[in-house]
Amino acid sequence: MIFVSFGKFGKMSYISETKVADFVKHLEEGKVMATRCSKCGKLYFPPRADCPDDLSMDMTWEELSGRCKLLTYTTAHFAPTGFEDDLPYTIALAQCEEGVNVYALLSKDIKENETHIGMDLRLTPLRLPNGKITYELKKA
């Protein structure tokens, strides 16, 4: 396994070491990946290295289609340290067609008055100005 630091993920990263650090490498290749337990077949997003259902550590990477629907959201006008310059921004929870949920920001080009629960979205990798990488939810 090639070592990749997870510290490249997100505008602010709080951790750099994880067994699923390859997620970043896949993200740089334009793919948002989940993990699937080889033993029970359960799909995990965010990706996990370990399956608590059967205590298995045997997981495989699997690309998500990116098609998802908005479950809920909020537009923040107040931010924790490091995010003040981005205000206001909309934090969203969406459900992917594979059944897993994703927590991400809504793309800035979606206006607040057109944001509605149930709307179709597309989960997409996003390169940030500071050289880091993340994903966001864009208009489908």
Partner: protein, 382 residues
């Protein structure tokens, strides 16, 4: 053998209290002990409760225990963020029930002004899953705001209904001398306030505070010697949910609260309709509306209607947060659960003054840690 609460104490909740955490705890401890003529010598064990990320002091239990004159009696530390002192009460119950210790002091505190605003702001972002959610700039109000939008979408709950929770809180805050904010707020003020995290506005959110609370618990035998008005722990429930929002399956209610309530009602052999008065964790207005539903005071989706019909005021179906709640008292994280328990104990002892619910015999405390991560429900009876 039943377990009793015999004494309760609390400091005023305030912004920038200007004293140290040991002194805050002393004031709450003194308040509780003097009320029942007990001395520190009669305390067999202490449980100290706070959220440690706000403390300069590492391992505060030892320090607080020393300052209260409790060494060499054992002291323990309990933490479940905003529900730390309810967790402390559950641990205290287990100690007494098992016979390990007879009389236990549960002391909750938080001095949120001990660290700078910038430090508070930095910690706020780390309350979520730091690997997968904090990198998106989330914080507490955003978490509850996402529940609010989902609740509004599914049930038609309105911003006016949310605001009415704060209007009630403001009304009762005028009667609570220990509350940080003691003023009535109009519906218009609530609706016109600046947005914090849509749809939650300034008055939909509680505020950080400094303060301490103390709950003295003891065995049935000792309780009867200490006081003529012991309050009994009838039911106690605790549950957890995923820390991450991503893994939640219910976005219109707190599953940990439903589960904790189920346990507490079962243990007490009681139902929601048996409750005469309740304290719920209204860190945000939407949290109180979801609490009505999760505790069974109304059906899922009818929480907005319950406040609209004023059923949670004194004189209504179930008076809730008649001490002003977190929204007016302020929320010194580790002290909050103990403060809620104090309010219910005073109600059941008939000592709640102008906010007394006539004939209150059974009361409930709902105290939540994090964004619905730690659920705690305690049922007390006269």
């Amino acid at each position: 053998m039943s377990v009793a609460i015999v004494g309760v104490g609390q400091t005023p909740f305030s912004r920038n209290c200007g004293i140290s955490i040991r002194e805050l705890c002393f004031e709450a401890f003194k308040d509780a002990l003097e009320d029942i003529n007990l001395t520190p010598k009669e305390i067999d064990a202490s449980i100290i409760c706070s959220a440690p990320e706000y403390d300069k002091q590492r391992s505060p239990a030892g320090l607080i225990s020393e300052y209260l004159g409790l060494a060499p009696k054992p002291t323990f530390y309990a933490e479940s963020i905003c529900s730390s002192s309810s967790t402390g009460v559950k641990v205290g119950y287990s100690f007494i029930k098992s016979g390990l210790h007879d009389t236990v002091a549960v002391i909750g505190f938080q001095k949120m002004s001990e660290i700078s605003s910038a430090e508070v702001q930095e910690r706020m972002g780390r309350g979520a899953d730091v690997q997968w959610e904090s990198p998106f700039g989330t914080m507490m109000p955003a978490g509850y705001a996402m529940y609010a939008h989902a609740h509004m979408q599914k049930y038609g709950t309105t911003e006016e209904q949310l605001a009415k929770v704060k209007v009630k809180s403001g009304k009762y805050s005028l009667l609570n001398p220990l509350a940080m904010y003691r003023r009535a707020i109009t519906l218009e003020e609530c609706l016109e306030a600046r947005v914090i995290a849509s749809p939650l506005k300034l008055f939909d959110c509680c505020a950080n505070a400094d303060g301490a609370s103390c709950v003295i618990m003891t065995s049935e035998e000792k309780a009867k010697k200490i006081t003529d008005t012991p309050v009994w722990v009838a039911g106690i429930g605790a549950a957890s949910d995923t820390l991450s929002t991503t893994s939640r399956t219910n976005l219109t209610g707190l599953t940990c609260a439903v589960e904790a309530a189920k346990q507490a009602y079962k243990m007490a052999h009681m139902e929601p309709k048996d409750m005469d008065v309740a304290e719920v964790h209204d860190c945000f207005t939407i949290a109180e509306i979801m609490a009505y539903e999760n505790l069974g005071f109304c059906k899922p989706g009818e929480g907005g209607k319950l406040i609209e019909e004023s059923q949670t005021y004194i004189g209504g179906k179930i008076p809730v947060n008649v001490d002003g709640g977190l929204l007016s008292k302020g929320h010194p994280i580790g002290a909050t659960g103990g403060s809620q328990i104090r309010t219910i104990v005073l109600q059941l002892q008939g000592r709640a003054g102008k906010t007394q619910v006539d004939g209150a015999e059974v009361g409930l405390v709902h105290n939540i840690g994090g964004i619905g991560v730690y659920g705690n429900v305690t049922i007390l009876r006269r």
